[in-house]
Amino acid sequence: MSDREEAFQALAKQFENETKIKVRFELYAPSEIYSQRIKASAQTNTLPDIYGILGEKRDFASFIKSGYVADLTEELNRQEDGAAWKDSLFQKALSVNEFLPGNEYGVAPGIYGVPIDVTTIQMVYNKRFYREAGLDPEAPPQTWEEFLAHCRILKQRGVPRFVSGFGEIWLIDALASNWAMNLMGEEKVFRTYEGKVSYTDPDWVRLFSVFHQMVSEDILVPGAVTMVNKTAEQTFANERAAYAFNGSWCVNVYKGMNPGLQYAAMLPPKITNAHSMKIWGGAGGSFMVNNQSYRRTNAIRFLRWLTKDKQQAFLATETENLPSNKNSLKQIPPILMQFADDMDNVVHPNTYPVHELPAVTEAFDKGIQSILIGEATPEQVAAEVQRIKEKESKKK
């Protein structure tokens, strides 16, 4: 988020001019440093009035149960100028910060954060490479078979194919769960998390086989297995890969790295037609209000102001990120609109009714890395993930 510092500072100044309330933004990078800082601040009761919680939903729940996060449900439902605050925001972005009745963490139902922007994570492809290879630059592959066919054509022309920052294993997790939902549907994925379906089920083995096929078809750019996403972004922006798997924030990143880059967004290619293709998305960044702050009212007032049409349009234009306010969408650039178009296909781990155990997720992602380096077969990875699942489930 540190790439948006100028825009945030400008908005803070504007808010101060309008309300005489001073706002000081502090932005940190990388995200792990910020995450640690917020956890440490919570321990010492020095949390800022407004802050973000990075990490998984169980961390968010832990913050709430410890009394660090204000429940904003009432504020979001309160009518102002004839409409509720939450009506202006994308429901899918809001739901990322929502805890439903009977949630697995035992958190009181409510909405505990305000999304300030929206993200979708999908694929992008280089249109120039497509044109030069005789492929239709307006017709990216829809299915896995088409994707493989296009990759073969690109390979013949010596174009490196696919890059992603798979050194950051959450990107592997995102792509794999997209395909898992396409292969077996959300319900079966969740039943696996519940322990009712084994990872050795043929559908999961088939999912691992897709990554195995990436190796046999020589699709992945060398080094992508340990590449951080920033390097992967450079690789795609510098036209050293035809496809990338990345989030909508990449529009701003690619613009900075190569303003002339000709690319478009596409959904990851479907493995089957059995279920629709889902992608990760929803709230990009969300702000929470410190429940123990004596400036709570002003903090909420600022968030309400920040998510209004005008401010959101300003943020979207200045930072090239998707706004969380639906009414500000009209003013975003066409490439960003391509990412916004796919909001209907969005799922977010925070909105899952059930979550996988962290050790299993790690074994799953590292297992896929092992397939990508040719060290393990899909069957071996499936068996290992199931072994970890059974072991960890006993500890619960």
Binding site: D59, V221, V228, T235, R240, L372
Partner: protein
């Protein structure tokens, strides 16, 4: 005890009080707190903790193969650093100990890598090791060894050695400086006397340099072991512990437990075990050094 003596004693304690307070707050308290947290399942956020006894330790010893693999990986890098890195440092220290032209410039150059940030060094080496446009692959192709080209940090056969090379490149300057200081502390007249007696270079090294350098060798090896076992920043910025678990080391596992899994208590238990391993290694080294001195 007279009043004067009491005053003197209290005065002494008063002078060491600031240092003692700082040490207690920033070293002792975190140290004991880590022990306390290691027997809990604290997630790093909650205001309450649940005690789990020795469950975390039991799990690490009996059912955490990745942690022990990480320990083995750190051991391999440490072995390479102890041998290759320190041998290189010793050779360079020998060369600079002689009155060669521009000796001071070499000292500065050799000492540059250790003062650079680990992350910066790793990023530079990422560029060298890059599988597509890396300098190393380019060089190999130039000398007709293009078949050896690969993504050095993503290939399971080379990843660990690739990060070990970065670590050694960054670390040899420390050993160089300490070894050079040790060499320069040996009285020159001992060498002159040996030469007058007709001793060869090897005999001089074996009977004068090596025995007098033993304390320095031990210091360098202790620092190398402790420094290398705790390697983190280079791995974090190059491979992130991957591919698979091929470059995982204890600190990356502890970090992953704290940040990725929010298992703070478990991570503290790993930290306690890792600290104990380092303590045992250091004690063995000190013991061996005492024995060698007696010989």
């Amino acid at each position: 005890m007279t009043l004067q003596k009491v005053r003197n004693v209290l005065g002494n304690y008063f002078f060491i009080l600031p240092a003692f307070l700082l040490f207690s707050i920033f070293s002792l308290y975190p140290y004991f707190n880590m022990f306390y947290l290691s027997v809990t399942n604290w997630d790093g956020i909650s205001s309450s903790v649940t005690h789990v006894g020795l469950e975390n330790f039991k799990d690490i010893f009996s059912d955490n193969a990745v942690f022990w693999l990480a320990m083995k990986n750190a051991g391999i890098i440490t072995f390479l650093a102890l041998t290759v890195q320190n041998f290189l440092a010793l050779i360079l220290a020998f060369l600079c100990d002689r009155d060669i032209k521009g000796g001071n410039i070499y000292r500065v150059i050799f000492y540059l890598p250790p003062v650079l940030s680990g992350i910066v060094v790793a990023l530079i080496w990422n560029w060298i090791y890059d599988g597509n446009y890396g300098l190393l692959n380019h060089f190999l192709a130039m000398i007709g060894l293009g078949d050896l080209s690969r993504a050095w940090t993503s290939d399971p056969k080379t990843a660990l050695f690739a990060v070990a090379v970065i670590h050694m490149w960054k670390g040899f300057g420390w050993g160089f400086v300490i070894l050079l200081a040790g060499l320069q502390s040996i009285p020159r007249d001992l060498y002159e006397a040996a030469r007058v007696d007709g001793a060869s270079g090897w005999v001089v090294f074996k009977n004068i340099t090596a025995p007098l350098m033993i304390p320095v060798f031990i210091l360098v090896s202790i620092l190398t072991i402790l420094g290398t076992m705790q390697i983190f920043d280079i791995i974090y910025a190059t491979t992130g512990g991957g591919p698979g678990y091929h470059t995982e080391v204890p600190i990356t596992r502890i970090y992953a437990m704290m940040i990725g899994s929010s298992k703070f208590g478990y991570a503290c238990a790993m930290g306690v075990i890792f600290g104990a391993v380092l303590l045992i290694i250091s004690m063995i080294q000190i013991r061996v050094s005492k024995m060698m001195r007696q010989v």
